[in-house]
Subunit: 538 residues, 2 copies
């Protein structure tokens, strides 16, 4: 696929890889993206090379409105992708230009708008409560208004497959209305997720023939066929596929972006990502799981930690001779690994590259590089994860370089003797957290006690109280974000807790990680890394 | 499908639903079935109405040998299913009757044997190191020997699709050898899991035409298409489908028995289970997850707790009118339920619907409904979230009904006086968590202290120690999953922590929520709700 610059996307327009994690994915129970999370998600999807990123529904959801405002203000700079605003057509009986929801789409300043419209006559009549003619007018008016305002418009035809099976004429009339209005793509949505691939492919082929419109596909996973349905639709002529990261979505979820892309690239030979993009699938999948605060599915196709894991026994020696006899693809194609232990950066080449990014030169230091790779693998096997904790990784790499070269490691700004945290739920109902730390700093032994609204907050407060008279730079450092993940039965041991701490000094943010079975100790480890990292830049 | 009694299965022979959880499913990392587990799994699969249960590989795995021995001794009585022993063909250059592995299959006394054989010329030459003629002789000899001994034989043609694509003649020769030997079904195995449905269906159709043999299908999920591939194969003529419970299996897993069956029954209208079987899908899926000690996938198609969950708001009123406009099937068909998720948009209609689902009738109680809506909104504004915590929501609704009607609320099983948690990071580096609770139960004041690997674990341990002598039902309650989310800058206040606790009593799972600025207190609140909810059902 050539990478030309047609209207709308810098990635080439022959095929659209379209991500809707930020809207449809966020429908999954338990996912609550902050605006900062949304910006991070979009950044990762753009790094991967997705063509279109649906950012949300401006006007309907305040956080989505803010996301588009911050993106337009320059907080999100995209290399590959184009941002898409999602919304509905004008209400019945109103002019598109005067519908506040439609105006909100314009105000979002997203260059592309995806409109959702009902295409099943039963939904039109029973849920929308208008006739088919008005439903079509709502589509055509809104599309042509937005096109007139310089937007590229896609139409999501909701419940299309059920609608088409029940009353094909109405379903096609809605698509045609979008086409007349100037929509570039009409997206056939299996909103209930009830389709199976052979039947779906037949419908897509038929609709392509009957409408002549450019078709997209949007599948839900209620028959466990969302990925298969998406691929079958492409084989039947769709050139625009809507997915979500790791299949996040309501009910059984959506088509998984990573499995769909893996299949398009490795099975159909379609070059739907920029060069190098496919090899980022595993890393980006795991980073997006981290942001969603959902444990990655170890058995996920292509990107799961176990996706290319083989049990010893029957095949072990044969695998050594020719791994491709036992793997459906070379795992490296999607950035994965054949071993049971999958590490995102534990390859020498990628760790060297990562080191360069972090300012630690490993290129001419094979010994340090080798021991760093071994160290990262060992830690990741026990639940650590560095993919979202660059600051901790930088500290690790610096230690390995110092260790390999016999130089002295970075001097920590303080050392801990001990800490104690006491949490009291008193008989009067009050809840109190109190921490005492004993630390050595500037050659002095300092003891400090402080209260906080929770154990980690109290510990942080006590540590600051102890250190601030000695380390004035500490004043600018704030705990900006704190994430906790319980890793159950990791590697057969008891559950461990992984804590990610994002710190900020007003100019810079950095993230550190700590892992321990005790959440407070895990937090302490991440906190210490955060301060050590800052001390290197004072 | 009629329920006649042909050779081999009491369930009718026109279509085979074949489960291999006990062999292929057990390949999943982390699953270790004891013999008792295997008997329990087989019993549940039989209750569901599966036609064939592959019990393992007698002779190769001691536990499998024991399983077949105990089954033959009467420890496993099957109503519907027939037990299948899995094994390989005779070794090269040996007579089938003299191969100890083949004898072990006979000794297992399983009425059906599934033999695995290589059908890809590259595997035959490089891994098996024999020529194609000998590979075919190994298949034909072993099949005909076992048939001569009164066994029914199926042949799993390993790596069939890759083999057929590479060298169709060899692949077909292996199938024909099995047919000549007297195999009833030749099973085309996508061992690498690399197939996509349209291509796979074409191959199945072609092979059916070229061989005239009865075909089965066995799919792995490496393209995330195992379920779709299995269904496509059936549509292309396969009449025997091999699956595993919840898709357990190595790498990305196998075709999920529950999704495959759900699709066959509700989409293709095939009566592949005895009457009432489909409505057991959800229960059996969860019970099998329990035995495997794997948390059920809440987003699993058909049987997941969220498979029919809808966010309230947008569609709630329309769902009330006609749920089938929004669900691909009636959830009751597979023994599942429609759930309405309560979110920030909670309105009266959706909370009333949710109450009905939870067994709390709010329909004729406008006052209770009004105060419940107000309460949920207030709590959600301060960081609570009930969409994944039905048990806490049920308790809230019951309290609101009691409050509005002046009746007494549910009696808690105990009351807290106070607790204290102490966390020590000692000077020797050891980290210790210790909790003391003072509670009132059965009119007594009880004090108990326990250690744990973290603060919540210690608190849970101390509480159990205090209560267990008084509340024997507590013994069955386990903390199955624990999730933590830090809500930073929620509603402009300080960060609060939201904890979700999933509890299980071996039969039922329920989820509760607690929110507090102190993570330990948040966990405590969720823990108390979990026990209160259980006490209502004791």
């Amino acid at each position: 696929m050539t990478r030309t610059e047609p209207a709308g996307t810098p990635l080439g327009d022959q095929f659209h890889l379209y991500d809707t994690t930020l809207r449809d994915g966020a429908q999954r129970e338990g996912i609550t993206y902050s605006v900062a999370d949304k910006i991070a998600v979009a950044g990762l999807l753009d790094e991967l090379g997705v063509g279109f990123i649906e950012g949300g529904w401006p006007g309907a959801m305040p956080k989505d409105t803010e996301f588009f405002a911050r993106a337009a203000a320059g907080d999100l700079v995209l290399k590959h992708a184009v941002l898409v605003a999602f919304g509905s057509t004008r209400k019945a009986g109103v002019r598109a230009a005067e519908d506040p929801q439609v105006r909100a789409l314009l105000d979002s300043r997203a260059p592309v708008v995806t409109l959702v419209a009902k295409s099943d006559v039963r939904h039109i009549e029973r849920a929308l409560r208008v006739d088919v003619a008005e439903a079509c007018a709502m589509v055509e008016d809104t599309v042509s208004f937005l096109v007139g305002e310089g937007r590229r418009v896609f139409l999501d035809a909701e419940h299309f497959f059920d609608g088409y099976a029940h009353d094909p004429d109405t379903a096609l009339r809605v698509l045609d209305a979008a086409g007349r209005g100037g929509a570039d793509v009409v997206v056939l949505c299996d909103t209930n997720g009830g389709q199976l691939p052979l039947g779906l492919a037949e419908t897509v082929r038929e609709v392509a023939g009957r409408t002549g419109l450019r078709l997209g596909i949007h599948c839900q996973d209620d028959t466990s066929c969302a990925v298969a349905n998406s691929i079958a639709a492409v084989q039947a002529g769709a050139t625009h596929v809507q997915c979500t990261a790791n299949g996040y979505g309501e009910r059984a979820g959506n088509a998984d972006l990573f499995a769909v892309t893996g299949n398009l690239v490795t099975k159909l030979g379609m070059d739907v990502l920029p060069t190098g993009g496919a090899a980022e699938l595993t890393r980006v999948s795991h980073a997006l799981a981290e942001i969603a605060n959902i444990a990655p599915d170890t058995h996920q196709a292509y990107v799961g930690a176990s996706a290319f894991a083989h049990k010893a026994g029957l095949h072990a020696s044969a695998i050594k001779v020719d791994p491709l006899l036992y793997n459906h693809i070379d795992p490296a194609l999607v950035g994965n690994d054949m071993r049971v232990l999958v590490t995102e950066m534990a390859g020498k080449a990628s760790l060297e590259l990562k080191g360069r990014e972090l300012g630690v030169d490993l290129a001419g230091r094979p010994e340090a590089l080798g021991s760093a790779v071994a160290k990262v693998k060992t830690l990741e096997a026990s639940g650590w994860s560095f993919e979202a904790a660059d600051a901790s990784l930088e500290l690790l790499l610096r230690r390995e370089v110092a260790g390999a070269e016999g130089t002295s490691p970075d001097e920590p700004p303080f050392t801990l003797e001990s800490y104690r945290v006491v949490l009291d739920h008193r008989a009067d109902g009050e809840v109190i957290a109190e921490a005492t730390v004993k630390v050595h700093v500037d050659g002095e032994r300092v003891i400090a006690t402080a209260e906080g609204n929770g154990p980690v907050n109290a510990l942080d407060a006590a540590l600051r109280k102890a250190l601030l008279p000695h380390l004035s730079w500490l004043d600018s450092v704030e705990l900006a974000d704190y994430k906790v993940r319980i890793l159950s039965n990791h590697a057969g041991t008891d559950a461990v807790t992984r804590v990610l701490i994002e710190s900020s000094d007003g100019e810079r943010e950095w993230t550190t990680v700590g892992v321990h079975e005790n959440i407070v100790e895990a937090s302490w480890l991440a906190l210490c890394d955060a301060l050590l990292h800052k001390s290197l830049r004072v």
